[in-house]
Amino acid sequence: MTRIYISRDSGALCVGAEAVAKKFRDEAKSRGLDVEIVRTGSRGMYWLEPLVEVETPQGRVGYGPVKAAKVGELIDAGMLEGKAHEKCIGVVDEFPWFKNQTRLTFARCGIIDPRSIEDYRAHGGYEGLKKAIAAGPKAIVEEVLTSGLRGRGGAGFPTGIKWRTVAETPPQQKYIVCNADEGDSGTFADRMVMEGDPFELIEGMTIAGIAVGATYGYIYLRSEYPHAFETLKIAIEEARKAGYLGDNVMGSGHAYDMEVRLGAGAYVCGEETSLLDSLEGKRGEVRAKPPLPAHIGLFGQPTIINNVLSLAAVPLILDKGGEYYRDFGMGKSRGTMPIQLAGNIKHGGLYETAFGITLGELVDDIGGGTYSGRPVRAVQVGGPLGAYFPRALFDTPFDYEAFTAADGLIGHGGIVVFDDTVDMAQQARFAMEFCAIESCGKCTPCRIGSARGMELMDKIVAGEDREANLVVLEDLCDTMKFGSLCALGGFTPYPVMSALHHFPEDFGAAKKRLEAAE
């Protein structure tokens, strides 16, 4: 029997993986071939999707991108024996783009069947939980502290400190909440974990539950991810059946169970307090802090809220030890970052690597430059609230502090590439527009300021009183930055001001004025 692997990740489905899988089934039947098709997550090399992998004695040999219409031809050319072909990339594990990564969180993604708990266990799954149970709650928190893991949702807050705070609250109903709202343009790593290795997230949340004495967890998933929703529901049910969730997790005496809840298309619900209100069944308005969710969180109870990637990093940290994880990275940015290459890029996909790699290496070398073949002009890092970077800053290393120093942010690790046809004034306008659409409405600088910002940008683009309006724009950005309750209003000035600062020529008269000011 020959085993072939085709991704069921929505990133593969969106370019036709389902039709390819069906064609293989049909061909196998009509030719009487003994073929088993395993549906996996994605390896993250999306420009090669639909990628079809064939098991051979040398390892899994990959072919991609494969069109359904070419399946017959590929089989004729001997792909089921791993034979050469123009679409063949060789043994996938040896393919440089893949091999050069440091895959910790994404070690299994694209390799295993995400719906099979046996497959998960055969690839090291649930080793972390086993060790966590043996070590006990205190030691779990210590291990996470040692790892230096920082929240991957955007703010980069040390995960271990958050966990310790919740662990130190008196015993009562506590909750684990996973932030799976992944609203930033240019990001898809959470989606890949949930569709490609959901048990890793479930295991991470279970370990968190045991660490702080929380018996229930929620994954708050954006409604734009119907495929992740299906996979998570199936995986949670499997974990429950196998005794990894329930009243007595792995016979440890600890109780922990969980469910997935859908958001409803509000970007601001990725902000943690807004998310908690939404889970409680209210409007997703941002809460003032303090109190911290660690003290008064979901339904008024102590709550850990972490991003998908933060929680998914935990099983490995418990299995291999906090020091193992900490030994990757630079400065105060420890471990690996799953970086997402997006936009107008040749090699779009997920690249997990230790912190410290430069922006230029990521965009030019790994990303291969633009898809359009035109020069890269700007990249936006960290989603809609992140700054635009010009080529001049491509030596910035991927590290929380280095990005802050360059007036930007890493956020959730998404990089969106733009070629030289981009109009940066239009991008600045969009940043204001997005803020206006998504504002929760609680504070004036964000709610009203973003609408004013759009009007201002329209005037600036139209050439109306440019000089004066640019001064007003900078003023407005200052007000939003310092007068907003959360980062939606507070960080929208980053894309706007970085666009203006680095690309003044797109704002007309701006260039002269900035030069005069210097």
Partner: protein, 157 residues
């Protein structure tokens, strides 16, 4: 022709009853109602308020806060076109224009034959293959004019 059931308070109560006993039941109820009726009509609000023992104003505030919930059912199929940055960088704006022209609707509009509702979406998590779109629950990436035209045809069929 419609894929949705006609609104009746009895059917609504039945759906609400299936979901009301969980904690924070509002969003699950709203999603379930929209799944069946294609929208959350105003008339549903007092029934939800009563079932959850909260004020009608709270329910109303919630329904109107979230972009997902509609007041009237859309067309037979919903085409969500991504308008966020990664898709902008890859030609999404031109595709938006083309889709509006070909369907003869603005964003949020439904075609005269009620086959397709066109909606904006801000990122589908498919930014590695921008521009992207979603037709009901099916995803499409790496769109260009040709692929968009096929997708529009599929949406209207």
């Amino acid at each position: 022709m419609s894929r949705f059931e006609p609104w009746t308070p009895e059917r609504a109560s039945e759906i609400i009853a299936q979901h009301q006993n969980q904690k924070g039941a509002t969003l699950p109820i709203l999603h379930a109602l929209q799944e069946v009726f294609g929208c959350v009509p105003l008339d549903a609000e007092p029934i939800i308020a009563e079932a959850l023992n909260i004020s009608r104003a709270e329910v109303h505030g919630c329904v109107t806060f979230y972009h997902d919930f509609k007041r009237e059912p859309g067309g037979r199929r919903t085409l969500k076109l991504c308008l966020a940055e990664s898709c902008q960088a890859s030609g999404g704006r031109a595709l938006e224009k083309r889709a509006k022209e070909k369907l003869g609707v603005e964003m949020g509009g439904t075609t005269a034959d009620r086959r397709v509702t066109l909606e904006p979406v801000y990122c589908l998590g498919l930014c590695h293959s921008s521009p992207a779109a979603m037709l009901d629950h099916d995803v499409y990436g790496a769109l260009d004019e040709e692929r968009l035209d096929e997708l529009l045809k599929e949406a209207q069929s």
